[in-house]
Symmetry: C2
Subunit: 78 residues, 2 copies
């Protein structure tokens, strides 16, 4: 399974950034080129995003994928 820090990071951006509306769920969705539903699902962490989405997120936050997502091999995933 995969654990992520997306919500935490996004909320920190909302607080610190001058353009906080860029960092709402909808702002992030636009920036990433996905739907708001997808942002919500990612934050919930209930699913396994594509590598491209992970790269886009990492780029948006200016971080490495490994600093946003943590992989824990508890069980049998695809």
């Amino acid at each position: 399974m995969i654990v992520n820090r997306i919500r935490e990071l996004r909320e920190e951006k909302m607080r610190s950034s001058s353009e906080s509306e860029q960092w709402t769920q909808e702002g992030m969705a636009k920036r990433l080129g996905v739907s708001r539903q997808t942002v919500i699902s990612m934050e919930k962490g209930t699913y396994n995003p594509s590598l491209i989405l992970a790269f886009k997120l990492a780029r948006a936050f200016g971080m490495a994928i490994e600093d946003i997502f943590e992989y824990r091999d508890d069980d049998n995933e695809t």
Copy 2:
């Protein structure tokens, strides 16, 4: 789009590793828990794997995702 070094890295492992059969396409498929077709498709680079698969690959190679996959935002992907 995403470019990767999977084939290159796997073939290097085949040459240098003592258990080279662990690094055939089929060996990798078993290790990653996917089908051999999926390994072939990944090496061809024609598609966008899941984050979990990317993590498993990175772990198999003992590298970071960013050292295996390179993200180039040429156009409009999901």
